[in-house]
């Protein structure tokens, strides 16, 4: 390990065409047994977040597999207590963790293939 450069682990997620535009999808990149992160696609932009509500440490957010958004698809919602998050910034704008943020994850795209950059264990 080079000092000052954290080692990362790159894990393939899917091709961007497999993501519905305006939709969300959960992933389990480290085979934890359930989804630990999710992505939201807006056109060519894909944002990724840890599937963990800031309100309760580690609490999973969807109400159903891949269901991380409200009906209008313009807010991320935690289905534990209805906390709403800005889809651009991950900032909680309503709910038990108002003012706190989702933890963003870095996404790399190569020829449409999406990878998440995770800190190596």
């Amino acid at each position: 390990m080079v000092a000052g450069r954290p080692v990362k682990r790159r894990v393939h997620l899917c091709h961007i065409d497999e993501l519905p535009d305006g939709g969300s999808r959960g992933f389990d990149p480290l085979c934890a047994g359930q989804d630990t992160m999710f992505v939201v696609r807006s056109g060519d932009r894909v944002r990724a977040w840890r599937d963990a509500c800031p309100h309760i440490n580690g609490a999973p957010m969807p109400w159903r597999k891949d269901a991380y958004l409200n009906a209008a698809r313009d807010r991320i919602v935690c289905a534990a207590h209805g906390a709403q998050f800005d889809i651009e910034t991950g900032l909680c704008v309503l709910g038990p963790c108002v003012g706190q943020r989702l933890e963003p994850l870095e996404i790399t795209s190569m020829c449409g293939a999406l990878y998440v950059e995770l800190a190596a264990a």
């Binding site: 109400w63 289905a79 309503l94 108002v98």
Partner: protein, 307 residues
């Protein structure tokens, strides 16, 4: 006052279609459900009712992320309804609605209603087990496991509120004849109305004001096996387990909590303790250890295979 327990919970939701699918898959029976919402009933007629959040007929929202709009309690008879109304009119406005029910606001700002209960009397066996030393509950050749068992929630058990002042909230319900059965220090009381022996139909959790709302609601199932089987089916349909399965200490009820599109957790519950006036409430600081006897987590079916 002979208040029995919650007859229905009314929610103003963001996604009616998602909630409809969710509540049907949970096991409730849709009654009069359209794209605008409707009722989802347990076997005894108790229910969750959803409408779109912009429906003009809904009571006002709590001003938080919570979608709960109203809790309607069932009472034994017209005399109880009159007594509840008389007590509440001492210090607040109580409206009589077109269906004869009463509506007001509790001291924390939750809209509540009272009606002569809709609950139908159930006549169903509970889970039957055989244990050495005890009379057999299933006779010879009566098989317990049914992979295709139809599992329907039996009755709306309880609702849990996040409240900004648990002591004041408790005092209000004590006025209506509720009693504290047990208390988590640092959270709040489990409350039992006079018309039910169930350990609680209302649990109050002290939180900051911006969290005010519903933490969860749950329906009673027929026993632990129904809870495990229904919860497993729910997971297999893609729903997100939050906590459980396990068994609580206070109330002894089995639990399995799931995320939901109703802005609160939804629980499967079974085998709750009953208490009467001779019970003395316990008090313990809230903690993971205090809140459960044991806790499991779902995993995919697995077996050690062949020899």
């Amino acid at each position: 006052m002979n208040i029995i327990g919650p007859d229905s919970l009314l929610f103003g939701v963001d996604d009616v279609d998602a909630c409809t699918r969710y509540l049907c898959d949970y096991g409730l029976e849709p009654v009069g459900v359209t794209a605008a919402g409707g009722a989802f009933e347990a076997l005894d007629g108790t229910s969750v009712i959803i409408r779109h959040k912009d429906d003009a007929g809904l009571p006002p929202a709590l001003g938080t992320a919570s979608m709960l709009r109203k809790t309607v309690y069932g009472v034994a008879d017209g005399a109880t309804l009159a007594a509840v109304g008389a007590e509440l009119r001492r210090d607040r406005e109580v409206r009589t609605l077109g269906d004869g029910s009463l509506e007001c606001v509790d001291d924390m700002g939750f809209v509540i209603g009272f009606q002569v209960t809709v609950r139908r009397t159930l006549d169903l066996p509970g889970e039957r087990i055989n244990a050495p030393g005890a009379p057999a509950q299933r006779p010879a050749n009566r098989v317990a496991v049914d992979e295709n068992a139809v599992i329907r929630p039996r009755t709306l058990s309880h609702v849990v509120y996040f409240v900004p002042d648990a002591a004041a909230a408790e005092a209000f319900y004590l006025r209506l004849g509720f009693r504290c059965t047990d208390r988590f220090l640092g959270a709040g009381p489990f409350l039992r109305p006079a018309g039910s022996l169930d350990h609680h139909c209302l649990f109050l959790i002290q939180t900051p004001p911006f969290m005010k709302g519903c933490e969860h609601f749950t329906f009673h199932l027929g026993g632990p096996t129904e809870l495990m089987q229904a919860g497993t089916r729910f997971v297999n349909r893609g729903y997100q387990s939050f906590w459980g399965p396990g068994r609580h200490k206070f109330g002894s009820n089995w639990f399995w909590y799931f995320n939901s599109p109703l802005s609160c957790h939804v629980e499967y519950d079974a085998d709750m303790d009953l208490h009467d006036e001779s019970w003395t409430a316990r008090e313990v600081p809230i903690s993971a250890d205090a809140s459960q006897l044991f806790l499991f987590a779902h995993r995919e079916k697995w077996s050690p295979g062949g020899p």
